[in-house]
């Protein structure tokens, strides 16, 4: 039996952090942080791009974690969390891809470059969609939970390999944002930009957690309603 908990204190706290953080974030991005010399205003999309891309990968990692948990002990709640995380993940992966394309258009004058991080994100998008297809199969939820968890785990294993393979394939285009290596000098980011980026990361992550919890609550309500409907149907039939 699933207990429905409507927004508890955690959700409220998240909400009250989220709303001001969103506005502060917008302020930081569009007003406070300096305009990049080479690219101009377009560079602002970078803050959203990094945040959404980060959440895209985080969400898939969460799918993996809940998949493992589901296999260890099948519980409706774990199954629901994995699914909701995948759904949010598709959204954020799409956003990351779109913003990435806009960025690419502005800085390299091309909508799409076959660049490792972009390709990895694109393949991640396909894995997400495939995962959601597995969840749409017919059958008891336990069976679907098992099959989708198995696929989720295989998918999570695949992501780093995709990244490695694509990086070996072609490493020419992406700007190295954080100094990759020991000195951490970075690719010419001013401190304000760095601060803005971290704040944006923080805000978008909070948004993800908030959406995850809300989504799971809605899904649980759906389950309860489905069960109640079934009960009524059974009662009428017998």
């Amino acid at each position: 039996m699933i207990k429905i908990k409507n927004s508890g204190p955690i959700d409220r706290i998240l909400f009250y952090i989220l709303v001001p953080a969103m506005f502060i974030n917008l302020y930081l991005i569009f007003i406070w942080s300096p305009v990049e010399r080479m690219m101009g205003e377009v560079q602002k999309i970078f803050y959203f791009h990094v945040g959404t891309a980060w959440v895209a990968f985080l969400a898939f990692f969460v799918v993996g974690v809940f998949s493992v948990l589901t296999l260890i002990k099948p519980k409706m709640e774990r199954f629901i969390y994995a699914g909701i995380s995948a759904e949010i993940g598709v959204l954020f992966t799409t956003l990351a891809l779109t913003t990435g394309m806009v960025w690419g258009r502005a800085s390299w004058n091309t909508w799409w470059t076959w660049e490792p991080r972009l390709i990895t994100t694109l393949i991640l998008w396909f894995i997400y969609v495939a995962y959601l297809f597995v969840r749409k199969m017919d059958g008891s939820w336990e069976k679907i939970a098992k099959l989708s968890s198995v696929f989720g785990i295989i998918g999570v294993i695949n992501v780093p390999i995709v990244f490695m393979a694509t990086r070996w394939w072609n490493t020419k285009l992406h700007p190295v944002v954080f100094g990759e290596g020991k000195d951490q000098t970075g690719g010419g980011m001013e401190p304000e930009m760095l601060a803005t980026m971290f704040f944006s990361l923080f805000t978008i992550t909070i948004l993800y957690v908030f959406l995850l919890r809300k989504g799971a609550q809605i899904e649980k309500m759906r389950e309860v309603i489905k069960k109640a409907k079934n009960n009524v149907i059974n009662k009428i039939a017998s």
Binding site: I127, F133, V134, M164
Partner: protein
């Protein structure tokens, strides 16, 4: 451990015997591969010299496309007379079912490659000058990885009604790193470039094969558990 292996051989033997009797899957796969080559020869004019650049990619396109046809049958054929339940209720480990299926599928796809790759070379008028040993090694490593993941997902998607549509959607994104490595390595081997570079790709493929083989072997029993 030994019984797992011998059970796997028994199952693979059964699959192959049943396949060689009708030769339906293999001949369909070979014909399909030939048709893919034909379609590609319309897309890229084979008389054009620059077309050699697409040969490594084509080798893998025909392998994967034809292979998916065979993989689709691998577990749905067990649903006839509910044979899979027969296997599951038998005194065997789930791992041996998986292993047996991998062996059988690998043999079938390799046979199809033995037919279709020479056909590709002939139709595209390609003269093989690279190192045959490396070429074969790369093909085997790539095909093995394809079969390892493909067999696993074939078992997974066999649970769905639209399994033959689901399988490619599940399989292709997971294959992408393997295919990048396989195509690059094949290109190097065919163009007789520095073989050192191909070895790096071959290592990546082997790592992929091993990692997914271990993961699939472990997770397979969850697919077999009915509920």
């Amino acid at each position: 451990m030994m019984t797992v292996l011998s059970d796997a051989l028994t199952i693979a033997g059964k699959d192959l015997r049943s396949e060689f009797k009708t030769k339906q899957t293999i001949s369909m796969m070979a014909i399909f591969a030939a048709l893919v080559i034909l379609v590609f020869s319309f897309a890229f004019d084979p008389t054009n010299n620059a077309v050699k650049a697409v040969i490594p990619g084509l080798v893998w396109v025909i392998t994967v496309f034809a292979g998916i046809l065979g993989l689709n049958r691998s577990f749905t054929s067990e649903q006839e007379n509910d044979c899979l339940t027969g296997l599951r209720s038998g005194p065997i480990d789930a791992a041996s079912i998986y292993l047996g299926k991998v062996l059988a599928n690998f043999t079938i796809v390799t046979i199809v490659q033995l037919i279709s790759i020479p056909v590709l070379f002939v139709l595209f008028n390609y003269r093989f000058t690279g190192s045959l040993l490396w070429f074969v090694l790369i093909i085997l490593a790539g095909t093995l990885g394809f079969i390892i993941v493909g067999t696993f997902l074939s078992a997974l998607s066999a649970n769905a009604k639209n399994s033959e549509m689901l399988l490619p959607v599940l399989l292709l994104p997971l294959l992408s790193p393997l295919m990048i490595a396989a195509v690059q390595a094949t290109r190097i081997a065919l163009e007789n470039e520095n073989i050192e570079n191909a070895i790096a790709w071959l290592q990546l493929m082997s790592a992929y094969d091993l990692l997914f083989f271990a993961a699939c072997l472990l997770l397979f029993e969850f697919i077999m558990e009915g509920s």
